[in-house]
């Protein structure tokens, strides 16, 4: 049953925002990623049948849900789509149990009770079954909304930031559960999140939206680690973004040489489309840069930049170092490294970057 999701929709939401998206999702979890206001929830609403696109086609396998060409437009209740709303939309007049049972009312009572109790146990809301939503905490509500959607056994699952209000440990448990659920059910899941952790822990595939359009599709690594567009770099948290000028191309080695901004620093980076003399944007993760207190020798790494350490800030398990190497760099270190290297501000340091840690972003 079920099958992959195809959705191509165009919907004008306001004068300034139009959703214009086409995606094909095989069974499995697909992360929907994008800045606030990029159209993620709107896409989910269109797929669920809650917003009518101006044009397009939506199908699960060969079951057509919506098609302007043939005039098909199934109502939401006929689409067999599970949806966890960003604002949850729990039924305030039902208990938790009532909310969970709502979508499985057609099952025989014994089976219904079994399924409901199972999902409640799994999401640790079994103690709360007789409470009304108004008397739950934020995270408890979110778990109830998730359980309510999962218990119905849909053909497609739409999850709009379903773990945002949960603590680390609870998230971890639920992520495990969702992974297992996904393996067992094999339906397409479209999962909106801003958290990198969820992207990598859950996503087999990733769709990035920007201003209502698909910016990129691929595995989380392809899409987020290898940004094809600066927006993704920003969304995905590449701390270092520079403009550089191509000074030489060596297609045989698959690399090119660039000069960083107005500085004299040169970097070897993966070959891009730009010609010599052209401009490119480079994105580098702060965690991909090594820092040395003595000039490194005999290293395989091709890029070594000299600079000055200007600040050290501890941010949780990592220390963020700012280094002025012509351009300002951010480098992430472990507290242990800071200690071992006896880092002090200011002091001269060397930055070590592997060629493939430098991502060439199209402008």
């Amino acid at each position: 049953m079920a099958g992959p999701l195809h959705a191509s929709v165009r919907a004008q939401m306001s004068e300034v925002f139009t959703l214009d998206v086409s995606v094909d999702l095989p069974p499995g979890i697909t992360i929907l990623f994008g800045a606030s206001g990029s159209g993620k929830s709107t896409l989910l609403r269109a797929i669920a049948g809650l917003a009518r696109p101006d044009a397009g086609r939506i199908a699960i396998g060969d079951r057509v849900l919506f098609d302007t060409a043939t005039g098909v437009d199934l109502p939401p209740q006929a689409r067999r789509v599970g949806y966890v709303f960003q604002q949850l939309a729990l039924f305030p007049h039902f208990t938790v149990r009532g909310n969970l049972e709502y979508g499985v009312a057609a099952l025989p009572p014994a089976e219904r009770t079994r399924r409901v109790e199972e999902v409640a146990r799994r999401f640790h809301i079994d103690r709360l079954m007789e409470r009304r939503p108004a008397r739950l905490s934020g995270g408890e509500r979110q778990r109830v909304a998730l359980a309510r959607a999962l218990v119905t056994d849909p053909d497609l699952l739409l999850l709009d930031e379903p773990l945002s209000a949960l603590d680390y440990a609870t998230q971890s448990r639920i992520i495990e559960d969702l992974r297992a659920w996904n393996a067992a059910h094999g339906i397409p899941v479209l999962y909106v999140t801003h958290a990198h952790r969820e992207v990598f822990a859950l996503g087999e595939r990733c769709v990035v939206l920007d201003h209502g359009r698909v910016l990129a599709v691929g595995t989380p690594h392809e899409v987020i680690d290898l940004p094809a567009h600066e927006t993704i770099a920003q969304i995905a948290g590449f701390e270092n973004l520079f403009t550089a000028t191509v000074t030489a191309r060596r297609p045989s080695n698959g690399v090119m040489q660039c000069r960083l901004g107005e500085s004299l620093s040169e970097l070897e980076v993966p070959l891009g489309m730009a010609d010599v003399g052209g401009s490119v944007r480079l994105a580098i993760r702060a965690g991909d840069i090594l820092l040395a207190v003595e000039e490194p020798r005999g290293l395989s790494a091709r890029n070594v930049l000299r600079g000055t350490l200007t600040s050290l800030t501890r941010e949780g398990p990592t220390v963020s170092a700012r280094v002025d190497a012509g351009e300002p760099f951010i480098v992430h270190l472990t507290p242990g490294a800071v200690e071992a290297l006896h880092l002090m501000v200011p002091m001269p340091v060397w930055l070590v970057l592997k060629t493939h840690s430098c991502r060439v972003v199209s402008l």
């Binding site: 604002q87 939309a89 979508g103 008397r135």
Partner: protein, 227 residues
Amino acid sequence: MSGIDWQAVGLSLRLAAIVDVILLVVGVPIAWWLAFRRRPWTFLVESVVALPLVLPPTVLGFYVLVAMGPRSPLGRVWEAMAGGPLAFTFEALVIASVVYSLPFVVQPVASAFRQIDPALGEASSTLGASPWRTFVRITLPLAREGIMAGAVLGFAHTLGEFGVVLMVGGNLPGVTRTVSIAIYDQVQALQVEAANRTALLMLLFSLAALAVVYGPLRRASHVTPQA
């Protein structure tokens, strides 16, 4: 208590109960339509529903009487089916009271429907519920306050109604003579004492009925503030 027309009391309570049920059955769907299926001309429907309010009851009663009379299509159809004229029967009272009290149910219920968060209906439909199930399980219970208000207004108004009932019912003891007509007659005949007693009885009945609806037993509202 002497001077109280117990038959009329029973008749009134029966009338009000039946009318209230019909009012809800008829009025709630109209309210739903008004709240969720707005068209540019919907206000016309809204206005037509509200019109019975604007006419003096006796005059409304007169029009209803003519509409039920043997020369009207309704009257003829009824006579052919029921074997007797419609006017001056209990059924006629029911019909007239429903027409007269309809706005008191439609208005509060429609406004309660409009106040419901539409996301809840959407959630219901994505959980596979038909529009009907959504209506019964989500929309209706969430509009509970408005429906209760409408039911109370409809019931009380039917109990107190008198102009329409008199015109359409003809004041037949045991058939169409309701308490409100009985009290009216007593006041008209200047039997104030008897009227007072009957009125007091009605008040006590109504207090009891309202106590059940609004009483201390009332369940806590689901939107009660936390803590």
